[in-house]
């Protein structure tokens, strides 16, 4: 009797263990189920490379190139800002900061990770957006640049914590060897620690970028949401995520527009899948 009970429990546990595989598969399947319906009427080429996203005009046009470029522009801007600052912060926390300060700084970074993105979006709207507007004398502060700054900020916890772990996992002997040879602390960090932690830092950067591409609410609130081919970082843009979030509420279930938004979802899923798998590989190669 007891054996039977345990047998059942252990099978249930195995089943729950498999649940994550099931959910990833389900997410992908349901995106495909709804998204691929679009390609009965529209060529994949026109979808990916079309210059015009006019989902509700007659005839509707579903070219997501402006959205891809919008996402790319905002993400590239965020990466340029967040990678150097984030890695520098990780080095400071892992190597330079005194023990007490280290705890405070880590708590601060954790705090940032906890703030909901809609709150950050709101704060960005009332502080950052007017600031960008006056600084660059623009007609509106809702620009790709504002989005980049906000997203860079939101990517920091990911980049800092993973890069910090990568630095900790460099064997102590490396650093001691460098110091024994007469290197200064900074030389040991710059020439020995950073290269040794390279693959971990790369993973940190990639996961940070993954976070930025997938971010929705803040980016929808502060990038201005104009689905046109972006010409500069000081103009309003619209990202893939913001398009889905902003338009799905109005799309009729089963309409072309509905299918098109799911097709955008497929693109997002595939991008995040590649980023996560590559980051995971580069984290594991280290060991």
């Amino acid at each position: 009797m007891r054996k039977l009970k345990e047998f059942i429990i252990e099978k249930l546990i195995l089943l729950c263990g498999l649940a994550s595989i099931l959910f990833v598969a389900l997410i992908f399947l349901f995106l495909l189920k709804e998204g691929l319906a679009l390609f009965k009427t529209i060529l994949p080429k026109d979808f990916l490379f079309g210059h015009k996203w006019y989902p509700i005009s007659e005839p509707a046009l579903f070219g997501i190139l402006p959205l891809i470029l919008g996402s790319f522009l905002v993400t590239a801007g965020a990466a340029v800002i967040s990678v150097p600052i984030g890695v520098a912060c990780a080095v400071y926390i892992a190597e330079v900061a005194p023990a007490k300060l280290k705890e405070i700084l880590k708590a601060g970074i954790e705090l940032l990770a906890a703030i909901p993105s809609v709150v950050l979006g709101f704060i960005g709207m009332v502080t950052l957006v007017p600031w960008v507007k006056t600084l660059f004398h623009l007609p509106t502060g809702l620009t790709a640049l504002s989005g980049s700054i906000m997203l860079a900020f939101m990517a920091m916890p990911t980049i800092v914590s993973i890069a910090e772990d990568a630095l900790y996992s460099v064997p102590k002997t490396y650093k001691e060897g460098a110091l024994a040879l007469g290197a200064t602390h900074w030389q040991a960090i710059w020439r020995v620690m950073l290269p040794a932690a390279g693959s971990g830092i790369l993973a940190a950067v990639m996961l940070g970028i993954g976070r930025v591409i997938g971010e929705t609410m803040a980016v929808m609130m502060i990038t201005g949401n104009s689905a046109v081919m972006p010409a500069s970082i000081l103009e309003p843009v619209r990202t893939l995520t913001a398009t889905v979030a902003a338009e799905m509420g109005e799309a009729v279930v089963g309409s072309e527009h509905y299918f098109a938004l799911f097709a955008v979802g497929i693109v997002l899923f595939v991008i995040s899948f590649f980023i996560n798998v590559t980051a995971d590989l580069s984290l594991h190669r280290k060991k």
């Binding site: 997002l268 995040s272 995971d280």
Partner: protein
């Protein structure tokens, strides 16, 4: 040598500067929200329904909706997540299947939140015909926080020393008895920490509930899990972008309530973790 020491000084100064560039704005953001949101807080604001097209009144239905959603998410995600963690930590061998499970968890954690929204819409709202409801929203949020709960629980289970298991097994206890009576009780604080962090995450997310549950405005509270509900993060989004001329005080007040709920949960988790570290006997 003096030259390289000067380089070091300059380099460390820039490292400090970068750190301050992150930490100072975090402090400022929280201070601004507290300072500007505090005057809006009152018993009426917390207990009244929104009035005059959400330009006055309170946010009670949104708070209630968020509580329902978060409870539903955790009821769904905790048993599955915990069992999955037990599987990975106690049963799984180092084989292809385990590798695949781990990769799936990494991917679940990385799926953009708005894609969870699409998935919830396609599976729960349309395919299962739950409609836009608390049930659909809770399940969507539950799947979203699953990786967080699995990872935290697994860490907690893994930190129970192997000697505990060996002693229990050598006394004739079965594998499940060992897990149930020895491993789990010792891992509870860690599991609790992960669960609370999951709660905080679910309370703050907006994109997954956009099309699965969130109502723009509902004057009454939901009656069953098949009703739509308002939710705090969506309400904040609505009054800051969709409704013109909302008093700034109300916006900041809503942001403050949401922030306090989320940060309070994180604080509780941090305290549990801290006390756990102090008390650890092994």
């Amino acid at each position: 040598m003096r030259n390289s020491l000067r380089t070091q000084k300059i380099a460390f100064f820039f490292l400090l500067l970068a750190t301050l560039l992150i930490v100072v704005p975090v402090g400022l953001i929280i201070l601004i929200i507290i300072q500007k949101g505090w005057p809006a807080l009152s018993w009426q604001f917390l207990s009244d329904i929104p009035r005059q097209g959400m330009r006055a009144g309170g946010i009670f239905p949104a708070i209630v909706g968020t509580v329902y959603l978060v409870s539903g998410a955790i009821i769904f995600a905790l048993p599955i997540g915990l069992a999955a963690a037990i599987y990975l930590s106690e049963y799984a061998q180092d084989n292809f299947l385990t590798r695949l499970i781990k990769l799936s968890i990494v991917n679940l954690a990385g799926v953009p939140s708005v894609v969870y929204g699409l998935f919830g819409l396609a599976l729960f709202v349309v395919f299962c015909k739950f409609g836009a409801s608390i049930l659909s929203g809770s399940l969507t949020l539950g799947i979203m926080i699953l990786p967080l709960i699995i990872t935290a629980s697994r860490e907690a289970l893994g930190s129970v020393p192997d000697t505990f298991r060996e002693v229990s097994l050598s006394l004739g206890a079965s594998r499940w008895q060992t897990i149930r009576h020895i491993v789990l009780p010792n891992a509870v604080p860690g599991i609790l920490t992960g669960t609370i962090l999951g709660l905080g995450r679910a309370a703050g997310e907006t994109a997954p509930i956009l099309f699965t549950v969130a109502a723009f405005y509902l004057p009454q509270l939901p009656h069953s899990i098949f009703d739509q509900a308002m939710a705090l993060p969506y309400h904040l989004y609505v009054i800051s972008t969709q409704v013109p001329n909302v008093d700034e005080k109300i916006r900041y007040g809503t942001a403050l309530v949401l922030l306090v709920i989320v940060l309070a949960m994180n604080l509780v988790a941090i305290i549990i973790r801290y006390r756990l570290r102090q008390r650890k006997k092994w």
